[in-house]
Structure formats: C-alpha cells, structure tokens
Symmetry: C2
DNA sequence: TATTGTTATACTCTATAACTATA
DNA sequence: TATAGTTATAGAGTATAACAATA
C-alpha cells in the first residue's frame, strides 16, 4: 500500500469540508458586526421564503432542536428582526414574522456573502465561476437549506 | 427593498458553508466505525505528507491549539496509528510518525471519502464533475490544508 | 393524552492559561 | 529565561430530557 494512492486531500468530500468551514468562519466574521451568526442568517432566509411559520415548523426546516430554535428566536426578537405573536386559534403556537429591520439584516448578510464570493473566486476564470455555481446549485438542491 | 433581490441561498458562500457542513457530517459518520473523526483524518493526512513532525509543528500546520494536538495524538497513539518518540537531541520534543496501521486507517478514510464523492456527484454530468473538481482545487490551494 | 414552546441539564469541541520538564 | 508538551479550566454550541400551558 502506497501513501501516494491515498490522496484524501484531493477528494471533493475533503475539500468541501475544509473549504466550507473556512468560508463559514469568514462569513461569520463579517456578519458579527450585526450581532448575527450564520444560524441566524439561515433562519432569516427561511423566514423570508414562504409564509410565516411557527417555531416548530421552522425548527424542522432548519434541522435544529426546538430548544435551539427558542434561543435563536429570542436573539432575533431582541434585535427587532422578527415579531413573535401567539396564534389566536392555537395559543400554544408562536408565529414568527420578519420585520422591516429583519429584512434589512438579511440584505446585509447577502451583501456580505456576495462580497466574500468575489474574494473567494478571484482566481477563477469566468467559465470556472459559472461552472462552480451551477454544480453547487445541483448539490445544494439534493440536500436541504439548513445551517 | 424586495426580498427577491436578496438570494443569500444562491451565493457560493452560503452553499459552500451548508454543503461543507453536511458533507463533513456524513464523512464523520463513515469513519466513526474506525474510531476516527475528521480532525484525525486531517492529522493522518498531514503526517503522511512530509517527514515526521513534532506535535507543535503539526499543530501549526493544522491550525489547532497545542493542547488539542495532545488530545488528538493521544487518541491516535491509543489506536496504534502513530508512534511517539522523544527526540534524543531535544528531549522536550515528541516526534510523531505514522505506523502501518495508521496508513491503513488513512486508506480507509480515503475510501470513505471517495465513495461519498460518488454519491454526492451522482446527479452531475461528467463535465460538471471535472469542472467542480478543478475549481475546488484552485480554491483549496488558496486556503491551507487543515480541518 | 398529545403537542408547542420553554427551561434545565449535559455533552462535544476547542481555546486559554497554568504547570512540568527540558533546554 | 524560553520552549515543547501537558493538564486544568472555561466558553461556545447544541442536544436530550423534564416541565408548563394549551389543545
């Protein structure tokens, strides 16, 4: 068995894992000024697509435990990014809706991501960027939205 | 401001982050049978490239704290994947070398990654796979090895 | 009795700081 | 005094389980 045969660092699995972690860290740095973490950005995104949702529905979509959803919603509510109102027809449910400020924050996150995209892909040709975008789009479609 | 203008989920930043986390989780599941985690696979990889290294050198390469390196090395030594020998010329240094079993484990990790690659890219055309591999290769070159 | 949200608790990962031994 | 490694401690992030309110 030759070590040269291994080439773990050349697998997509290894590269997606390492690059993903590095990019997520840089993204986190950039949205930290808004007192947000990547999880919050994912939650704002989920709320911006589709109608208002209860915390449990949202927890299911994002694949997180209900207890974590409480903490995330608490934080976003404290920032004024979401509103929490009891569903009058089922007072157990907390219905979450994005506020104007929440939409502003989401735009700020998207801007941060786009500028990071520019930096990341600076060394790629235009064709390579297009191909990368298309390929990741397919892969993202297989998995869910979350994180 | 229209929500439709945002499109955070379509950025490379967002997709690399979410896909990377999902792939890393699946990779972790597959090497768990060998009592390894992604960090250990990264460490075995680093040891397989280049000559034997002290723990501090390795910690620097992988970008982890020295205290974490101790824990990782402890675990790999317990599995018989590495050998730790005191450098006779500087008895403070622990020189780490990969054992035969360590190389076997690295091959197992690479096999797991390759089979995961197949599953992940099942819906991509051959051209898309090639392009994705090339693009990620460039991006991986910019960042370091670690994680 | 079942479900939504909440709180309490515990576990994993990792870093920082204090310490030991060697230099 | 400085450095390699180790140990002790602490923080972030997240899950599980127990609980309260409502159905």
């Amino acid at each position: 068995m030759r070590v040269d045969d291994v080439k773990l660092p050349e697998t997509l699995t290894f590269r997606l894992g390492t690059l993903g972690a590095a990019v997520a860290d840089r993204f986190a740095d950039r949205i930290a000024a808004h007192d947000l973490k990547p999880r919050h950005a994912g939650m704002l995104t989920a709320l911006s697509m589709g109608e208002a949702a209860s915390q449990q529905e949202l927890a299911g979509r994002l694949g997180v435990a209900p207890s974590l959803m409480v903490a995330l919603a608490d934080h976003l509510a404290k920032l004024g990014a979401i509103e929490r109102v009891r569903d009058p027809r089922d007072r157990r449910r907390q219905v979450l809706t994005l506020t104007g400020h929440g939409r502003e924050l989401l735009v700020a996150c998207a801007d941060a991501a786009r500028s990071l995209d520019e930096e990341i892909t600076a060394e790629l040709s235009a064709d390579q960027r297009t191909a990368l975008h298309a390929a990741l789009g397919v892969l993202a479609g297989e998995a869910g939205l979350p994180r």
